[in-house]
């Protein structure tokens, strides 16, 4: 999973969202069509080309108090409209670590 921190150009190959971390507590959030942030991926605004992605990213970057480190992440959109993370990194960000945390081991 190439780190999005190394993203140089905005080039999307399919449906994507803008994701970031909420400023006050750091949790994973997604940019919504209502120009706010949600912790629920199903509420994320979907972009399908680089112009849409650039616009959504610019709007997200401008909301610096709400969330930090926004970047474009791939998603898969099912026939039922359900949005799923597009790679392992985003899957882990959405559902948490793939290991038992120590208190649970």
């Amino acid at each position: 999973m190439t780190s999005p921190l190394e993203q140089k150009k905005i080039k999307i190959a399919g449906p994507s969202v803008v994701t970031a971390n909420r400023t006050w507590d750091g949790i994973v959030v997604y940019r919504t069509a209502a120009k706010s942030w949600s912790a629920d991926l199903s509420e994320a605004a979907i972009v399908r080309n680089s112009d849409e992605a650039k616009a959504l990213l610019a709007e997200s970057v401008a909301d610096d108090v709400g969330a930090i480190g926004p970047y474009i992440a791939p998603v898969q959109v099912g026939e039922d409209g359900k949005i799923l993370p597009g790679n392992l990194r985003e899957q882990i960000r959405r559902t948490g670590v793939t290991i038992g945390q120590p208190a649970q081991v």
Binding site: S3, N21, T23, W24, V97, I99, Q101
Partner: protein, 551 residues
Amino acid sequence: MYAYDEIDRTLVNERVSEFRDQVKRRLSGELTEDEFKILRLQNGVYLQLHAYMFRVAIPYGTLATNQLRALAHVARKYDRGYGHFTTRQNIQFNWIKLAELPDALADLAEVGIHAMQTSGNNMRNVTSDQWAGVAPGEIEDPRIWSELIRQHTTLHPEFSFLPRKFKIAITASDHDRAAIKIHDIGLRLIKNEKGETGFEVLVGGGLGRTPFIAKTIKHFVHGRDILSYIEAILRVYNQYGRRDNIYKARIKILVHELGIEKFSREVEEEWQHIRNSSLQIDDEVIEDIRSRFTYPAYEKLPHMPDELRQAAADPEFEAWRKNSVAPHKVQGYSIVTISLKPTGGPPGDATAEQMDALADLADKYSFGEIRVGHEQNLALPHVAKRDLPALWKALDKLGLATPNVNLITDIIACPGLDYCSLANARSIPIAQELTRRFANHELANLIGRLHINISGCINACGHHHVGHIGILGVEKNGEEVYQITIGGRADENAALGTLIGPGVKFDEVADVIEDVVEAYLALRERPEELFMDTVKRLGVEPFKERVYATR
């Protein structure tokens, strides 16, 4: 233990107030993230995949029990009930909220702990041997010098905006437990022919995408000159180190590009300007620092107490003792390494309950002192041998008596893609699977000393280059792929491992490691020949053949 003075306490408290104000201004929008980022990094606050990560320094790996309890408190109150001990004598909390960080820092400040310079392009936590002050044969306690350097470099304006981060490690023993040869500056404490204390100075070590073993720049620098010599190195680095390319900004690249001879000439020239300045250390300064370290009032105890003799009949105790208990400089005492590598557990993690209970055990059995080692284990540095059986039973109840120290399941691993925003692949699940594969203690003991190091990206926080077996996770076509190296080591004979072949998929890694180990068992000349000896004797080819013949 080292007792901080009023200056230290004031400094730490003022830093908390300053950061509280910075966080407040950030959350109100007065500071942008661009403006705030460098401030949070200077206080050990990263942004990771799921949340902010908070890295707290444990200078030279020494903790008092009230400090360990404070770390447990932070884990419980502000995080998810556990912390992760790193390869540089720090602890990381993975789920901290920015809004609560000032309170967490204030709670830590009460016991003299802070997060200053645990990230950012400055002088990082000065690390040392976790057995400092108790190891037999040690020249002298290296923490005295670590503390001197810590005091001099903390918030030093000239070292606060270096081209890149800068790490110093110090050892005073023949056997290097501080991995000094993979640090920007490595210091080996020695005596000259007059019996004076000084250092062999090494420079330009480091791992990451361009790994180098440090080179000796000066065979002896007198103790009184060590600050000026370090400062001379840093000035040359500050002047010539590259700021245009983050991948070429570490001092190792400068040393490599200039060559050690030219680099040392530059340092020497700079040193002559500052050597006889206020940087020269008076003996009284060292003695003052020395006097602030307190050492236990050891009893006169027998070498082999009855309690230990009786416990030796228990094979489980003996299995633990053989791997976890090391000789102490004082007769009747031992150094006990506490494995944070339980079968199936994430390497280096400890729960708040374990930390609290361990603090109680340290009060009872180790004069209230705990150490943190770069191998991601803890240690109790002053345990009376008569107490070893009772301590073992207590540790076992806490899940802290896994008898695998220095064995194949004593794995060093970075947080990897489960936590880290830079990672390309997961590290911890690989480590967990390997601890299950080699959970049989008899098998692990048969294999003998063997260090596995795992990194989830080329930044090499798991020190994979210097693992006897190194595992590096990379990404290829959207999948996690792992490259395997063998023959690395991080001790006084530090060496970089050699790649044995093409990368393998996540599900195949444990099988490949089993193949490497089986090859070693078949190839070794006698049971005493360690893995590294076999690799040295035969090279990587026989291992490569074994792994790839059927793949």
